[in-house]
Amino acid sequence: MAERSFKAEVEHLRKGTGDTFTGEGILAITKALLENGVGYVGGYQGAPISHLMDVLADAEDLLGELGIRFEANASEAAAAAMLAASVHYPIRGAVTFKGSVGVNVASDALANLASSGVNGGALVIVGEDYGEGSSIMQERSYAFAMKSQFWLLDPRPNLTSIVKSVGDGFALSEASNSPVMLMVRIRSCHVTGRFETRDNVPPPLSVRDALSSPMRDFKRVVLPPMSYAHEHDKIDNRWPAAEKFILDNRLNERFGPDEGKVGIVCLGGIYNSVIRALQRLGLADISGNTSIPLHVLNVTYPLVKSELLEFCAGKEAVLMIEEGQPEFIEQQLGAMLYKEGRTTKLEGKGIFPRAGEYTGQIMLDGLDAFVRQYAPELLPGKVLAPNTPKPELPDLSKTVPIRPPGFCTGCPERPIFASLKMVEQEVGQHQITGDIGCHLFACLPPFEIGGSTMGYGLGPASNAAFDGGGERRAISIIGDGGFWHNGLSSSIGNMVFNKSDSVAIIVDNYYSAATGGQDIPSSRAKNETKSTNNPITRALQGAGVKWIRQIDRTYDVTRMRETIREALTTEYDGPKVIVASSECMLNRQRREKPLRNKAIAGGERVEIPRFGVDQDVCTGDHACIRLSGCPSLSLKKLDDPLRDDPVAHIDQSCVGCGNCGEVADAAILCPSFFEAKVVHNPTGFEAWYAGLRTKIISWLQTRRAGARLTFTGEGA
């Protein structure tokens, strides 16, 4: 069960010709796939296209009706490999994953796919962006497009353009027998808007029917000498065909006047921020009509030479707006102009920073600088004139604390790292590597565990150099998502085969949690269309791991700590793997809360636990927080003149996971923590007995109060 359900929205995917769709980018892309007769879809979740996978999963009924196969692939490599179906068969296929890391994983299959070439349209929808909020490293899939020669679309970020680009992508792919990559940026995936829908089209040939009449052609196999031929085919046929299609169908767009002494070339994906900057400079109106010629590359690779040279013709200067580095497009454009002996001045990096996201301010400053230098007469007076003075604001950068992402309230991974931190406090620091997933938050305060992450499922593999062991065994962390993605072979297999003397901790939270709670083979949930409930421990045994410890309640800090200690100290010198399992609390709450409320409303007996801190017992040293960092465990200032420091306090968002109490006990911190279990709809006897107990207890309390001074308020 994914974190976000699109069941309701999916109904809109049934809309036909004449309807209008209103919603999010990822849904628009899904609708476009259906309108373009896609035959099979798949992919691997990861920001920003996780939700695209969720939509496809929730739309499985509709896909079935249309005869479309949906595959939740095991990894990006698996997803890219699936496109092999379009090599021989005239079937349109689309897969999605995140760039650039996902593309890295998929690159093997992509290279082979691009070499073979395709018969049916093959579309790779890559969620790629960097800068704010993006968990993706600052690389560009563009380099892959160049090296493998598949084509790259980067449409303007509005629903109509994105939807159109899906159809264009399939057609371009078929016209040029090359796979096409459709880039959507993080904000384009979640951008909302409207577009006119068309009827959904079932695939002319379904993958099911294709099996009845298999096709093969050894010329497509990537083996010499055919592979040499593939290279020539790319240059002599596929590339020219692509350029022709791009020109004939005007995939790239022109805005503004035909003539002008200066011009701007930008990628489709950043069109809106370019227009916004032009609007602020008084050079464009609200609908984007600009007074400077603007060439928008909805196809960023290949670049159509004739088109670009024609745009630059007669212009004194052209500004290339391209985020990231290397500035592939600017370099190609520069080479084109130089070889043609053009005198048009090419601007780009230099006026713009070489690295990082082009924020609104950077875009504004860049365009302002360019126009000032080459066409100041275009700028309205207000902009030419010096800016209005900055308002003097106090500097808050020292005041406002950073707020990186961290473990959610009640997260089952918190006690694992609390235990690990305690063990390190006893026996000293260890060599620890992390992996991709929520557990990577452990490298931040308060835990500060793990110093590196080499990639998904590569946690233990990235400790391989230390497999030989030493005074203190190396520890590696890996999630259940990473384990099934490629950890089982690349990490565990590697440990077993090399007789690794180190320790691996598999964080099993029942889902691919960081990407939005998608099911994976070891998920405990029942899933109609996927095979779940495949225990990680059995996979480990199968791979040849002898020393395995399964922990079914990570919140048992004492046990967790002892198990880790055992793994670090045992005589056994082979690979030691701890599987620490408890359900992701986000998903668990989403599952249980409604049921619980229903039960309470229905008069059933329900216990709801929550934790608390006795403010008079707490001395405000915050040791508990240094072993937790739970959002619900915070601080509270008491209005007591005798107290200097705030005391710990647990707010109502607590879900009663018990980590703080367990830690306070295991680390022998303090007696301040208590669990308050509220019993709804208690049984009759229970209520009667509780009443009796309360009577006796309050009699004792009154008795003691009678013999001493009692002040208003509690303690002092």
Binding site: S134, R187, T192, T359, P405, F407, P445, P671
Partner: protein, 516 residues
């Protein structure tokens, strides 16, 4: 932030003035997405073009997140909206937490020429604020001051509490505040319809909505805060007549102290009497008066005030008896029941997490016996074997309560215990050091008193606190004869409060040793 929109600078498009740019800064999990959806459906229902977007993904896990949307009147033809806010170009900022408001200001999204800032003044502490051993909370006041300068219109109130009070969440009260601020050109009813259209938890959301609406329109009720401290004021304690009399005479003594000292002395007295009894209170005042007599008005009795505070804290140390006593009091049960909303037929199961060690047990023994065992590892091991393990005590059950009740009742015995003796010795040597600096090194005396703040916590944490305390005092001796000695002691103390392991303190000590 520095750029004024060249709106009046033709040939810019006047229609651009109709574009409303709104950003929501929230902490992951606060429901920023819900709020975004409400605003968007509101705008569309009013015939506006609207575009919303967000940066989802792992960044949402309790981290700072941002949602952005733009809208324009429906008569505009195909407006081109930006997908991200930019400095100096945002009309409305909704910040779901105080420091997120500060973040918006840092990023230049809040400017006096255009921005309405709607922020909740409540705090969700960042880990870096919570984890310092001392007080690491960021200053909301600094953010408030900056907000008043930066925003064209400021709506600042505790939207979180407002929502929780009516059983809803902050997204709803913020939506109400947005309506109340009048920053959007839509009627209140249209806002409420958007909530109804959403369909989930409508009633609760509407209640929170109107709470937020009123906060934006009429601001916070100043009385709300004013009430609280009142109850801390002097009220006669309940109890037997003898004790009442003794208490009265002690209060009379406090009344006899110089004015600046009284309040703290009264709080301190209350604490130690509550900890033990009125005789103990008399001891406290004795120690205090001794220092007061050597203090003076021109120093505004600073020394005495600090003494009143820290001697009380030192005398009311945290031993097993005190913990058990506090945990079995009726006031505690009442507080928990209110906090956990245990009413109308619900029951409470109360489990206390305790983990006694041999040290605590031995501390309860008579001094001589205790000392013997303490110095005998075999005995300590044995006792640990008997007692040292995590104990979950059901304090609401008769058995659990009785056990703690018995321990809490050992107050009469306390003065004979080893722990008491140790605390007394520690207290005496500390006060001796203090008075050693009087009269001529007054400031040193004050600083050394303040160092008591370092001793807190239980078991290991307590031990760590003690060692920091000793280190700082050792450092104090090195600089006691310097004019800037007091400042150095203060510096050492602050360093000790900064980090757990005391690395900062050791660093500061090295500096001291280097010149002393």
């Amino acid at each position: 932030m520095s750029l004024a929109l060249p709106l009046d600078a033709r040939p810019a498009d006047p229609a651009l003035e109709g574009v409303i740019k709104l950003a929501i800064l929230a902490v992951g999990g606060q429901g920023g997405g819900v709020l975004t959806n409400w605003i968007e459906s509101l705008a569309r229902s009013q015939g506006y073009h609207c575009q919303a977007t967000s940066v989802a993904g792992v960044a949402q896990r309790t981290g700072a997140t941002i949602y952005y949307m733009e809208m324009a009147p429906g008569d505009v033809d195909a407006p081109v909206f930006s997908l991200a806010p930019s400095a100096g170009d945002v009309d409305i900022i909704v910040a779901a937490e105080m420091m997120e408001a500060g973040r918006a200001i840092i990023r230049g999204f809040v400017t006096p020429d255009r921005t309405t800032l709607i922020a909740s003044s409540h705090r969700m502490l960042a880990v870096s604020e919570k984890s310092v051993p001392g007080d690491g909370m960021a200053s909301s006041e600094e953010v408030r001051a900056a907000a008043e300068l930066a925003a064209q219109k400021l709506v600042l109130a505790d939207m979180d509490t407002a929502a929780l009070k009516v059983g809803s969440v902050i997204s709803a009260s913020l939506f109400g505040a947005l309506a109340g601020s009048g920053a959007l050109p839509f009627e209140r009813a249209a806002f409420e319809d958007a909530i109804r259209a959403g369909g989930k938890g409508v009633e609760a959301s509407l209640r929170a909505f109107s709470a937020g609406f009123d906060l934006a329109k009429y601001g916070e009720d100043p009385k709300a805060e004013a009430v609280k401290p009142a109850q801390q004021e002097i009220v006669r304690p309940a109890g037997p007549d003898m004790a009442q009399k003794a208490w009265a005479s002690l209060e009379a003594k406090v009344a006899g102290l110089p004015e600046p000292v009284r309040e703290m002395a009264h709080a301190g007295l209350r604490k130690v009497v509550d900890f033990q009894d009125t005789d103990y209170g008399a001891e406290y005042l004795g120690r205090l008066e001794d220092l007061v007599s050597r203090d003076s008005a021109e120093k505004d009795y600073e020394l005495s005030r600090e003494a009143a505070k820290y001697i009380a804290n030192a005398m009311a140390y945290d031993d097993v008896i005190r913990v058990a006593d506090l945990k079995t009091r009726p006031q505690r049960f009442n507080r928990i029941e209110t906090e956990m909303k245990v009413k109308d037929g619900k029951l409470l199961h109360l489990t206390d997490y305790l983990h006694p060690r041999a040290e605590e047990i031995v501390g309860l023994l008579p001094e001589k016996m205790g000392r013997k065992m303490e110095s005998d590892p075999a005995w300590m091991k044995r006792i640990d074997r008997w007692f040292n393990r995590g104990r979950r005590i059901r304090t609401d059950s008769l058995r659990g309560f009785a056990m703690l009740y018995f321990l809490g009742g050992l107050r009469g015995w306390r003065r004979r215990t080893l722990r008491h003796r140790m605390e007394q010795d520690h207290l005496e040597s500390w006060l001796k050091m203090v008075s050693g600096y009087l009269p001529d090194r007054y400031a040193m005396a004050v600083e050394v008193l303040r160092c008591r703040r370092l001793i807190k916590g239980y078991s290991d944490t307590h031990a760590r606190g003690l060692s920091k305390f000793d280190k700082v005092l050792a450092g104090a001796r090195l600089v006691e004869n310097r004019d800037d000695g007091p400042e150095w002691v203060a510096r050492l103390r602050e360093a000790a409060l900064k980090d757990e392991k005391g690395a900062d303190l050791d660093g500061a000590l090295k500096t001291v040793e280097s010149f002393a």
